[in-house]
Structures are given as C-alpha cells and as structure tokens.
C-alpha cells in the first residue's frame, strides 16, 4: 500500500560501540560475568585445590627441592596464608592482567605492536641482560672463554622468576582469559576460561577415580575427593552443603558463560547494523528492550536453574515419601533403603525424573499465559 513514508530518524542516542560499551545494561552484564567468574573460580579452588594441590604448596616443594628461595615474595603468591586467602592476591593480579589485555585489545594495532615488542624486549632484558653484561665483562677482562660459574649464576634468578610466573599464570589461566574475554569482547577468551576449568575438573575427576587414585600412591591421596551424598541435607533440606557448592560451580559457570557471550552477541549485532540504523531511535529503543530482557532472563532463568537443580537433587526423598505414602509398598521400602540411592544412581534417576516432569509440565501448566499475565501487569499497554 502506498503512503507517506518518512525516512529513518536520528536521535540523541546511537548504537555505536563506544557508546554501547558504557551503557548500564552492558556494564551490568559484564560485571555479573566477572563476579560469577571470580566466584566460580573461588568455589573450584576451595573445593579442589586449596590445601591439596595449590600453588603455594607447589612453590614450597620447588623451594625445598631446589634449595633456594623463589624470587616472588609471599605477599604476592599468597604463601604463608591459610585456605582461600592464598588466592586473594594472585586472583587480583589475574584480574588486572586480564583487564590490561582487554584494554590493549582496543588500542590501535600499532600501539598493540609496540606494547608487545616492549614486553618481549623487557623479558629478554630481564632474562639475559645481566648474564650478557656479566659475560661481556668476563670476555673483556679474561679474554675469550666459556662463561664462568659466577656469570652463569646470573641466569638463575630470571629463570626462577619466569618459572614462578608461568606457574602463577597456569593457576590463574581461567581468571586471566575469562577477564580478557568479558571485557575484551573475545569469545575465544571466554571459551578458553570455561574449557580450562572443565579440563581441570575432568582431569581431577579421572585422577580421583578410585582405580587410578590407588595407582597414584601418595600423590593420589593428596587429591581432594568428595564424600557428599552420605551426609544429611542441610541446604533447604534438599542437598548437602558440598552438593550445593558443586551446583554453584555449575551454575556460576553458566552465568559467566551466558553473560559474557550475551554481551558479545548483542554488541556484535549492534556493530553490524548500518550507520543509519545505529542512529535510528527505533533500533536504539529496541536494543534497550533486548538488553533489559537479557538481564532479566539471566537473573531469573539462571536462579531458577540453581533452584531446579537443587530440588532435582533432593527430589529422591520427596519421591520416596510419595511412593511410601501412596503405596506403602515393599518396593518403596527397598528403594528407600537401596544402596543405589546412596551411590547416586537413584539420586540421578529421580533428579532426571523431576526435570522430565518439569519439562512436561510445560504442556500442562500454561506458563506462557501465566508469564504473560505477570508481564502485562508490569507494563502499560502503549
């Protein structure tokens, strides 16, 4: 139908990346991603690493093995502290490093190249500078000869320094790559962070598998194993504290992933819009709606995921109560006492059963209408 068509408008706000990056929804999502990354890291570390295979222990082993002090001070590595406190300073360093890398990613290629070059030159200078000077002095004073012991010793400090840094970086890899991913809008960074965490959990799981653990001897016994099912549920009467900690690790990982990827996805969309659309108030206001929706869903759905997983894990008790109540049967008694429940098989079956029922409820309970009712009561019809 032909009619009057007005050209695209131009508002005060636009969808240019530099403006969007400071928009409160984007920043909130990024902060949320960072917080969940840190929290997840702390949960993983406190569950599996601290006091078992943490970096301070590795440093101690190295120091006693090499018979020398490592150049990094305890205040930096967290050595001498107890528990999670060992990770506070390194984690701060990791966040700083990741942030700096993200910042660098937004500089001009020339500037980036300069910084990288400066870093490499600095590294070489620290590593070999004193040695080269010392050796040169030796050549000048003693004539042509192989480097003497005192000159070679000059290499020890930089090498140990590098080793310490590499170890620290290895431990902090999820934090560094994750921070770079979130703030530097790098999908690869986020994927590396999650991949590394999953890899760690996987390797840890394999190493703590009783068959393999027994083969590892004293090293194996050092690894933390989880004995979580046997104890009484304390969190909401559904799961044990340790189970809840594992649920948190899983869900925080998802919060981190979804917020970080969500930011990247939305910014990518805005970036690809033509210039006229970036300035169009229609696109700007819809972008607001999208980001608000994203924030809301991140908060609601991921909280619900925590709740659903928690209930699912505690569902076996409810299920058995029901069965017992309804049938009072021999089966309820034997399943209630079954060793499979203790050994998680029953737990998983009933959890999946619960999730299955919840999924099927979608077809019975009109969530959509219910949801719509809530939404429409909050928003005024235009």
């Amino acid at each position: 139908m032909a009619g009057e068509v007005t050209p695209q408008g131009e508002g005060a706000r636009s969808l240019h990346l530099r403006k969007l990056r400071v928009q409160w929804q984007i920043v909130t999502l990024q902060v949320l991603a960072t917080l969940s990354l840190v929290w997840m890291y702390m949960e993983v570390v406190s569950t599996y690493v601290v006091g078992s295979i943490d970096h301070t222990q590795l440093f101690d082993t190295l120091e006693s093995g090499l018979g020398t002090e490592l150049p990094l001070g305890d205040w930096l590595t967290g050595g001498g502290n107890e528990g999670l406190a060992r990770f506070y300073v390194p984690m701060g360093l990791g966040l700083g490093l990741g942030g700096a890398m993200a910042l660098l990613a937004f500089q001009t290629p020339k500037f980036q190249q300069r910084v990288k070059l400066g870093f490499i030159i600095g590294l070489i200078a620290i590593l070999a500078g004193r040695f080269v000077l010392g050796y040169a002095w030796q050549l000048v004073s003693d004539g042509w000869s192989a480097p003497g012991n005192n000159v070679l010793q000059l290499l020890e400090w930089p090498l140990l320094m590098m080793l310490s840094f590499i170890i620290m970086t290895f431990y902090l890899l999820p934090i560094i790559t994750g921070t770079k991913g979130i703030w530097g809008l790098s999908r690869r960074g986020v994927a590396w962070s999650i991949g590394f965490t999953l890899l760690f959990l996987g390797v840890h799981a394999i190493l703590t598998f009783p068959l393999i653990r027994s083969q590892l001897g004293s090293y194996g016994s050092q690894l933390t194993t989880l004995e979580i099912i046997v104890s009484e549920p304390t969190v909401f009467g559904l799961v044990t504290a340790q189970q809840f900690s594992l649920i948190l690790i899983a869900c925080l990982m998802m919060v981190f992933q979804e917020s970080a990827f969500g930011v990247i996805r939305q910014l990518e969309y805005a970036y690809r819009l033509p210039e006229s659309c970036k300035r169009d108030p229609e696109y700007v206001s819809q972008m607001d709606n999208l980001l608000n929706g994203h924030l809301r869903h991140t908060a609601i759905f991921l909280s619900l995921t925590v709740v659903a997983t928690t209930i699912a894990l505690g569902f076996h008790a409810v299920l058995l109560d029901w069965v017992n109540g309804i049938t009072g049967s021999q089966w309820a008694a034997q399943v209630g006492e079954s060793i499979e429940l203790t050994l998680t098989y029953g737990l998983v079956i009933s959890a999946l059963l619960f999730l299955g029922i919840m999924a099927l409820l979608r077809f019975i309970v009109p969530w959509q209408r219910f949801w719509g009712l809530i939404e429409s009561s909050f928003t005024t019809r235009e």
Binding site: Q330, W331, V335, E337, S338, E340, Y345, I349
Partner: protein
Amino acid sequence: MEEKPRFNRRRLALQFAFWFVLLMLLSTVVSKVINVGKDEGQSAYGDDWNDMSAFRLDINEMGIETKSLVSSPLLLADIEDPANTTFIIAGVERDTISLPQFSSDGFLTFASEDGYSPAEVNAIKEFVFAGGDVLVMDDFGYSSSIAESFGVRFKGVQLYDTVYVTELDYNFVWMCVQESPCGMDGTQLDPNTVENHSRWAISDGGAHICKVYDGRAIAKSDAGVCEQHWKDGAIQYNASYQVLLNNITGIDILPNTKTGMGATQIRSVTSAEATIDVNGDGEIWVGSEQNAETPDLWGQFNLSIEVCISQDCNFRDGGRITFIADGSALINALYDYEGYNDGDYGKADKPIPENDNRKWAMDYIVDSLVDPEATGESADVPEVAPNAMVIFDESRHIQPSIASESYNTIYFLLVYFTGEGLAMLLLFIILFITFEGVLLKKKDPEPWRHVFSIIYYGFGDANRYTYYAKSNKIKQVFLSKVRNQNGLSREEFDSLPARDLQGMISDPVLVKFVFENRNYSLEQTVAIVKRIKVWGRT
C-alpha cells in the same frame, strides 16, 4: 487425469506383519526381563510369611544399618568398607538379563551362567577378597554361577532327610549346624545327637566373639553383641543350632577348583539316610549305582558350607561366604515362628516348631559385623563395627508391580552401563556417535541477510561463431549483399548469368572468391571480409 491411488492391500499386509513381528519380539524380550506379580517372597522388605522382614528389623535393632541392592551386585565394587559389610542373598528367583560383556579372560561373552553375570560374580568375589561377608541361601534358584566361583555347587533338586519335622511334613528338615549329623528319637529330634558349631564353639582364631566372652560375668547392658547369650549375669554362649529348613537341596564341594580362597569348610550335613530326587518326579528310586532305573541319590549331603579367605575363618580378617541349602531359612514363618504361630503373618495352617533360626542368624551377623578391632581383652563385649552394614540383594527378587520392576530395570541398566567394562565402552561409543550426530546433523538457521543479485544469462549461441568464419558462409553473406545492393529478388538473382554477376561484383578478388572453390588462409579470409565490408559503399 491422474488415477486415484488404489488401496494397497499388499503394503498394508506387509506393514501389519512388520509391526506384529516387532511387537512379538519386543514382548518376548520384555517378558524375559520383566517378571511381575509372582510374589515369591524372601524379600527383606516384605511382611508376608515368606519374606524376611523380621530378620531385617532384628538387624536394625542391633544398630546395624540395612541396605537393599535393587540393581546389580556390580555396585559392591563401590562399597567403601567391605570388611564391615555383609551381603545377603536369599533365594535367587530370576536369571540375569543376558547382555554382552567381557568375561574374566577378556573375551566378549553373553551372560550364559545362571543368576549372575560374570562381571557380577567377579564383583562379589572382589567384595569377599576385600574382607566382606556373603550369605547365600538358595535351593532351586539361579545361584549356581556364584557358588561355582567359590568351588561349591547347589544340587538344585529336592533333598529329603529322615531328620524332619514329623508334625509338619517331610519338606521341613532340621539342619544341625555341627560337624556330624544329628538324628531322630522317634518323631522328635534326638537332643543327644545335637552338638556345637564346628568353628564358633572352638576357642581358636575362628571362635565366635561370644565364645571368647563365654562365662564372663557382665551386666546385660555391657553384653554388646552377645546380648542374646546373656543369662544370669554372665555370657552363656550355647553354640548348638537346630535350624529349621523347608524344601532344601544339597551342596557339593567341587574338587580341585582354584578359587583363591583359604579354606572350604562344611558346617552342616544331612543324616546318612538322606535322598535326593534327582529327576524331580516326586519318587525316590535309589540303587547301588545311578542309572535310568534308579536315578536318585542316597547318602549324606552337605547343607551348609563356609568358604573363607583365612584358614581359620576368623572375624578379623573377614572375607567369608556361607552357603545354606535353603533359600527360605530366614523367612518370617521359620525365623519368627512365634509371630507366625500367633498369626502375625496371616493364618498359620500348622504351628511351626521352636527352632534356632533366629539365634543362628543373629550369631552369624555378630560374627560378621563385630568390630574387627575387638581382641577379646576388653571387659565389655564389643559392639558391632561403627559403620557396619547389611545389604540385602533384592535385584534377583521378582517385583510386585510393573512400576517397581521398571524402576529396578532402569537401575540395572544404569549400573550395567556405568559399571561393566564392555557396556561402558559401548556407552562411550554411543555418546561419541551422538555428539558426532549433533555436530553433523544439527544446524542452526542461517542469519538473515538481504543479497542483491541479478543472475542473468544473456549469452548467444557461441557455436555459430566458427560457422560464420567459414568461406562458404562468407560467400553466401556476400552474395546476399550483392543481391540486396542491386535490388534483385531471390529468383532474379538465382537466374542471373555468371558474367553479369561478375560485372556486378566488379572486384576481381571478390569475383575470384565467389567463383573459385579453393582454400583460403586466415589472413586471406580476413582480407576478403574487409573487402566485402567496404564493397558497394561507393
């Protein structure tokens, strides 16, 4: 008009046949797996006369945790403290589900043995080697695979003995847990023939803990696990057991089997006049040798055998498996005969006589689960181990409802696929293929993008280019030009004498080209075409 598709009978019949066969196959498989409703009993969680609830409650009262195992004994591998765990198999009512698995030699097999698959038998053996105790009570069931792996064999056919409860019938046989058989005095068991347990009553490493504390004056509250033997301010351990059995079989020791166990000891035997109805015809025909005329057996048979890791079967080392030739030895009717006679488990047809089933069972549990740290030197009788546990095997009991059967089958499959080597391998492959499938097949919708494209094919027939370079065609075109230029019709032109035409052309080169048939080089042709082009312009 298109013909309307005909009603295809052949196709319909084929489809019907396909679904029928599929349904038949499926129902056959399902009927093998799911066996509902035949409530045969011997469940520790049922309250019928033929269940074992009384025994389980007694164990609970001793402060021992009871557990059921509804899927597969493969799970025994995951028990954290096997030394303080007792696994009780009472009546193996059903066969295992035949799924492929690795045999102990590493070959691929289908579970062909009765009752338990090789992997399950292996798990039970490992459990025993790890210090666990197992009590196998069976008669005509599917426990042969597990028995044979410990060097014994259930005969699986009914045994009759002269030592039976005459007021009931010959199916109710007395088992005296002692080295030599007990005998009858008329219609009653002769008390003079009743002796003591061949291990528990001997004061050596294998002695029962209550034997260790026998005769010590102890307050009842300090009697610990020997509370049932406390009498008049002291432990008075009585090691004689008259256990009442119902419908029994015999147990053979398989000679020269390598089981890795330390000792195989007979704990109870029948009288020398016992018979076995080998062909199960309900009649006994015995002779000096077994043949078609006299197929049945006669003599003394074993009713209980204990196989231990240690030579003296002591409770500290654990690792024992005890076989009883009757799956119903501990059912409520026999175990709790008083309750049964009082009608607690339904109307009793005939009263069950007093027996030592409960006493034996409790002493067995005590022997199995007493704190292994106990040395016998403490003043008080020790308690059971703090984390003592009794596990009842419910995986081979027929379930009362389809729901419980399905639930247990899911358990079984889950345990099988996450516990058995080949199944795990299979599962890994399935997971891998699924991932590959998702990777290859699952495609996300493409992002929308407007593509401006004007695809247009405006080519002419390129084959004609070479045709138009041929001298004949060029000649034809030229002649047309000549004709047009001179305003002649086709007929007039055709009838024109050659001389006139030559005159019209007037260019000798072109005249030659028209009238002489000869080959021209490319350059010559080009020159001619140029001439034709300018021809007639003046």
